[in-house]
């Protein structure tokens, strides 16, 4: 087993009197797709926002590659190699694919302090990334506005890879996609893990999770109630964890 890229220990998050998350321990390993499941309000989103640096945890610690970290902004998380692909993809539709992949950190040649773009170099890099992901996008100069939802996910993933992300967090990447598109995005997710990235996938769709994830973690009412390898569980068990029907969850909730 490879060493964990990120270890979360005893993570808790309180918003005033409301406890959104309590005592979550989790390891995220490179080359592995980890699925986070749970009902609405179970704490998944709060947890990834902590990983992404959008919220500081109230308690507990995050350890990235053996070093304790404290993120005060998404930028801090990004510089530790954590990229988050939010549901709204943060792409600019009027710009081309390669411009979007490099937006905010363009390759440039400075002439008298004016940052001129190195278009050819950027196009080449994006082209090879798209090929590597097998994303079926032939022209990196096409405007993002002309792409389908799945292709946009591919562009967002390219963006994450281009930032040298070692952990990519995907928040319901298939929520708004057609069936064929969903397949493509799941394949992309797998390929990302094969490349050695750690992937955290949030989803509501259990069959999708069983198709792509290596490990499944279930959140319920702000706690981690289950962690299973895919091979050792089945959809019924996971659903019973999510709904709280599982005897283990009931026992846990009774003690609290």
């Amino acid at each position: 087993m490879t060493a964990a890229f990120l270890v979360a220990r005893g993570i808790a998050k309180r918003f005033g009197a409301l406890t959104a998350l309590s005592d979550v321990d989790l390891e995220i390993r490179p080359g592995e797709v980890l699925a986070l499941l749970g009902d609405n309000g179970a704490g998944k989103s709060t947890f990834i926002k902590i990983l992404a640096g959008a919220h500081p945890p109230s308690d507990g610690e995050l350890i990235v590659e053996g070093m304790p970290v404290a993120f005060s902004s998404p930028k801090d998380a990004a510089s530790s190699g954590i990229a988050t692909i939010f549901q709204e993809l943060a792409l600019s539709e009027n710009l081309s694919i390669s411009e979007n992949v490099f937006l905010g950190r363009e390759l440039k040649r400075s002439v008298l302090g004016v940052p001129f773009l190195r278009r050819a170099e950027m196009r080449r890099r994006v082209d090879s990334l798209l090929k590597e992901l097998d994303a079926h996008i032939s022209d990196p100069e096409a405007p993002v506005g002309s792409l389908s939802g799945g292709q946009r996910q591919a562009v967002a993933i390219c963006r994450a890879l281009n930032l040298n992300a070692k952990l990519v967090i995907m928040d319901e990447p298939t929520a708004a996609l057609a069936v064929a598109e969903t397949r493509k995005v799941l394949a992309l997710t797998r390929r990302l893990a094969e490349r050695g990235c750690a992937v955290v996938l949030i989803s509501h769709n259990i069959s999708e999770v069983f198709e792509v994830a290596d490990r499944i973690v279930v959140f319920r009412r702000g706690r981690k109630v289950a962690e299973r390898l895919r091979a050792e569980t089945d959809p019924e068990e996971i659903v019973s964890f999510i709904t709280g029907a599982h005897p283990g969850v009931r026992a846990l909730e009774k003690t609290n």
């Binding site: 709204e88 943060a90 539709e93 009027n94 710009l95 937006l103 905010g104 100069e141």
Partner: protein, 318 residues
């Protein structure tokens, strides 16, 4: 492909404007064959220089989105011209006049930027307010009187003509538009402006300093208006407190005619330049035909509606 698509968009605008320009010139020539002397060409280009600089500022502010608009440009032109002349009277060395006008414009523009980005006032409201402040101040400081005493060397530059092309047009308008075009097309800053204009949130998420960029663009728009004020001084020989009158609407018309999307993120400076030439030609021609000023405004308005309609229809057909 994106570049080609962009180019097609702006070539469409450019072709339409060129076509309209030919029609305007043709109609004017038929109505009054003597209308276009070389002197008229010089006048048109002289007026165009002022409107072009102001329109460029307007265009970049609109392009950066966030409901960006600068209604105070006319006020900035008036006030920076007056400020320059008053500073001269107060003992400013005359060689500093150009820098003073541009700097005054930049400061007034940056004030707009602060209202919009730091205090989050809607640009339409903020710049409407500063429009009244700036143009009112220009009148109040002078009591409405024109300020004479522009240094002679400035007049020589402002009034000299090379084969009927005025010097300010050659030395300011063309270089400034060339630089703006290059920056928008080939630098990271240009990409950021388009990104901010189209989708502010995504630009923010990727780490583009949205507010700072907007602040700078308002300041830049002000500086361009200050430069226009300087040209009006060099040409007319005096600082008039109402020189910027109507420039806000004319510059907005030029920007819209030139294909800048009012919602931001779309358009280029070439179209703005062509639109300025078209507008000034039309106005000068109508003036020569002794058309009532009220009708002149009406015709400009009709032109704007027509071009926007053509743009909408061409998008539907595509």
């Amino acid at each position: 492909m994106n570049r080609i698509r962009n180019l097609q968009g702006s070539t469409l605008v450019l072709t339409l404007l060129a076509l309209l320009w030919v029609v305007v010139v043709f109609v004017l020539l038929v109505l009054k064959p003597s209308v276009f002397s070389l002197a008229t060409v010089t006048t048109i280009l002289q007026f165009s220089t002022i409107l072009a600089l102001v329109s460029l500022g307007q265009a970049i502010v609109v392009m950066a989105g966030g409901a960006g608009i600068d209604l105070s440009v006319g006020g900035i032109v008036s006030l920076s011209a007056i400020f320059g002349m008053l500073a001269l009277k107060a003992g400013l060395p005359s060689f500093l006049l150009p820098a003073t006008c541009v700097f005054a414009g930049a400061v007034l523009g940056a004030f707009n930027g602060i209202l919009v980005t730091r205090l989050s006032i809607l640009p339409l409201i903020a710049t409407l307010g500063t429009f009244f402040i700036y143009s009112g101040l220009a009148l109040a400081l002078t009591g409405g009187a024109a300020q004479s005493g522009v240094p002679g060397w400035l007049l020589i530059w402002g009034r000299s003509v090379f084969s009927s092309i005025p010097a300010p047009f050659l030395t300011i308008a063309i270089p400034v538009f060339a630089i703006a075009g290059i920056v928008l097309m080939w630098t990271a800053w240009g990409r950021w402006i388009y990104a901010i204009g189209f989708n502010e949130r995504s630009a923010h998420l990727v780490g583009i300093p949205v507010d700072r960029a907007r602040l700078i663009l308002y300041g830049l728009s002000g500086a361009l208006s200050g430069a226009a004020a300087l040209i009006s001084l060099a040409w007319l020989g005096s600082g008039r407190p109402n020189i910027g009158q109507n420039l806000e609407l004319e510059s907005l018309t030029a920007a819209m005619l030139g294909g800048i999307a009012i919602s931001g993120g779309r358009g280029g400076v070439g179209g703005v330049f062509a639109a300025v030439i078209l507008l000034v030609t039309l106005k000068t021609g109508l003036l020569q035909l002794n058309v009532n000023t009220v009708w002149q405004l009406g015709i400009v308005g009709a032109l704007l509606v027509f071009v926007l309609l053509a743009d909408r229809l061409s998008q539907r057909w595509r």
